[in-house]
Assembly symmetry: C4
Homo-oligomer: 268 residues x 4
């Protein structure tokens, strides 16, 4: 494989006008945590995996000694009543490590979403800021101005243009490239004051509450803190090995010795 | 999408032997400003957008909270009388961020220009110099020596070879690769003494005046200073977020902490 | 060739449910040494070469003045009795020098292994550690938990998850991507306390002994030390020229002078 | 164009078992100078150009103000009598700027050579060494040991393996990849003690004399020193602008200011 592929697990699910929710890793991992908790609570079902040569070339080893390549995962959930909609979720270990890969991965996702009949997209992202003023509301960006009306009553701050200049990676490109396919996109930006790579559970909770409101679902929030701890551990493990792997590979590519890296424990 | 695509807005316009004018971002953004003002004054009509995986993987957020991916835009203008020609314009947010992407994007543009019946190409570029001696004339480069005759009376300095060695990016490649398609190319090089990334409105004005002369059109120059200010702001915003995005992505790729970047405000 | 190709030498061998053993270069070159010695002792037959644009763009010059491009080599061995299995070996000069190349090369290998009827994969790797506690056993990782049963009696430590986080390159990806093809994978990780690029013959011997046990073959170990010396010399030569080539190419790409590299002897 | 293309000028020439001589830029540009002079003296005819997205994305401006993209050029020469052979020459401005591009370009060349009926390849390269001992002979590398016999009487030192480890770029890959097409390859390595990027006319002359002997042609050597000066100037101009372009592009990619590069004169 040179490129990006989606591997179906069983049949393609038949969904009724589903809404798509993205929660890939990013600043503070706020989307990853919120969407991960939501799909677990809803008992959403995994139905596809996305793998890409634009992810790092290594496998992660689980506690069971089994390995898996870095991947993104698709889940679906069927609505229980008329006030809800079918949902497609996307979470994952990683985003593209090179710039061109982002486009390829996002277009592969959008092709797949078209097959599933998706017309509405919600992405999530962390917004790194110096000081936090607005703790309880999210900033929103949209694929086109008329999408704002749809979500106006949710309590999202749509005065985005003056505050934020850009959204990097899948959260932004899903909206920007989805527009060419007439998909309505909303990006939920949660402010986080910490370091970009440190998970921010508080902001994740704010995103989660807004998602629950938009989707009109009920979930048990009581295990959120426990689950956040677990997910933090997993994501920080991935980030740690990714950092190590990157620095090892860079060192190897530079043809340098590794005298200063003796304390690293790695495999190749 | 892996690669470069042109998305038509409506039908492909039927043009009569059109001339092509390129004004993508570059040194001093002189071409971007001149061509941007010209097409606005002529009320040229947008008919296509070019997107590419060789642009940075982020979206820009407008004042309206709507986003768009980095793109290049095609406009056309129909001649009003016999002394004028139909025109195709190209402006945009960005050029390729990697070296191989330049070739792909330029070949995609040339394929499209062939469909539109373009035989004549004019590109614009800034030439960074230490001191400015010739303020009122442009330096010209051509796709082949016989093109010089066509533009001799315009007041372009064609003693280029002794002064300049190379033209980087789309402005150069459109000429060099267009030659293999028997397209006649002219590059207008405006001297600019400032920093490459700081817009140079004075040189933009010189380019604009020469374009008006070549195209035999009349435009109102009175709003040039106002429009230049606006365009400067927009381009500098793009460049700022592009710089931030690049340094963030580099930092992430290196697996470094971000202790020294705390004052940046970014999203991912 | 842009990409990765496997060149057959003669016919594709007809093998009966063969097991695949990988020994590409990596930390301490432990797999390269163990598998290289094993296939020489078994007099396995070379039947294919893999070349890739993701290897370094140079040729190696042999003592005979003949050259070859960097390559990976496939060997096969036919079982002598009912207790043994047919074997496919892979050794080589190099792994991918860029991150995306690893995926392409591993998928090309897996396509080829499918054609050969391979269902079982064993990869080998060195695990760089500070101090060595367990000298006589290997750490194992598997493509899925049920593979552990197969190899439980061999004396492999399957408590991997708590010790190791990741396996970089072909040794890991062959398992992780092979899983999507229902291939059963085992990675043998030998602890090595030295520098990653210095061959570790002691760990190679441990891997070799476990491979002999799994494959149920008998080989003469008496020449191991001699052969290890030879292989070390060859691999260190490759690594030395690769380092030189890399630093030369980096210097050229940076447009730097080479005043500090005068003592290097190179060709271009 | 994304990739590498050969553009024919007129018809494909019909040649009788031609021998191929490569002289692309490299260490000391010794091959470029020798082969360039030889084809000029023989009045060989240009019949094709190779362009590639793996060359730098800029055009060179000639004294005439006309531009051309970086390219490689094919020339042919028809034998005058029975003792000579038809010849195909390759010279050029550049080699690939990235590692994977070398493979793509060399395979494109080999595909083209197969069409022309080429079975014998001679490449040229400079070998950077500390001190010069053998001034009048060249070191040779071959695609396979039996090629040595062919050229034994020419006065080439085939004790290469002990002196040289690797040949980087097209000079090496043409031999190494040509071997898979049953092409007989010889690389002539001229020792040069200077900086890799400074042309070495003395070594170029040694290579030229050996080529003349192999090809059994007679040329006027009296203008060699004059021509070498011209070629040096042209190649050094290309290298200078390439260095500038590279450092400019790197600076832009890093999002840095250019305060320390004010003395550069460039265009974009």
């Amino acid at each position: 494989m040179n490129g990006t592929k989606i591997k179906l697990i069983g049949e393609l699910p038949k969904l009724n006008n589903p809404i798509f929710i993205e929660g890939l890793p990013g600043v503070g991992n706020v989307g990853r945590i919120a969407v991960g908790y939501l799909l677990e609570e809803l008992k959403a079902k995994k139905f596809a995996e996305l793998i890409s040569s634009h992810f790092m070339p290594f496998v992660l080893i689980h506690q069971s000694s089994a390995v898996h390549v870095l991947k993104n995962e698709f889940y679906y959930w069927k609505s229980k009543d008329q006030k809800q909609r079918d949902i497609v979720f996307l979470i994952g270990d990683s985003q593209s490590v090179d710039t061109t890969g982002h486009y390829e991965i996002v277009e592969t996702i959008l092709d797949f979403l078209e097959k599933l009949g998706v017309k509405d997209i919600i992405t999530t992202a962390g917004l790194s800021v110096q000081t936090k003023e607005k703790k309880d509301r999210l900033i929103g960006a949209v694929s086109s101005p008329d999408v704002i009306k749809k979500y106006e009553k949710i309590g999202i701050d749509f005065d985005t243009g003056s505050k934020v200049g850009t959204i990097i990676g899948a959260s932004g490109l899903l909206l920007g490239l989805g527009r060419y396919r007439d998909m309505n996109g909303l990006c939920l930006l949660g402010e986080t004051s910490g370091m970009p790579e440190i998970p921010d559970p508080k902001t994740a909770e704010i995103i989660l509450k807004v998602l629950v409101k938009i989707l009109n679902v009920k979930i048990d929030m009581s295990e959120l803190q426990v689950k956040i701890k677990e997910m933090e551990k997993f994501m920080s493990k991935i980030q740690k090995v990714q950092s190590k792997a990157l620095s090892q590979m860079l060192a190897e590519e530079m043809g340098k010795g590794t005298g200063d890296k003796e304390d690293l424990k790695y495999i190749g």
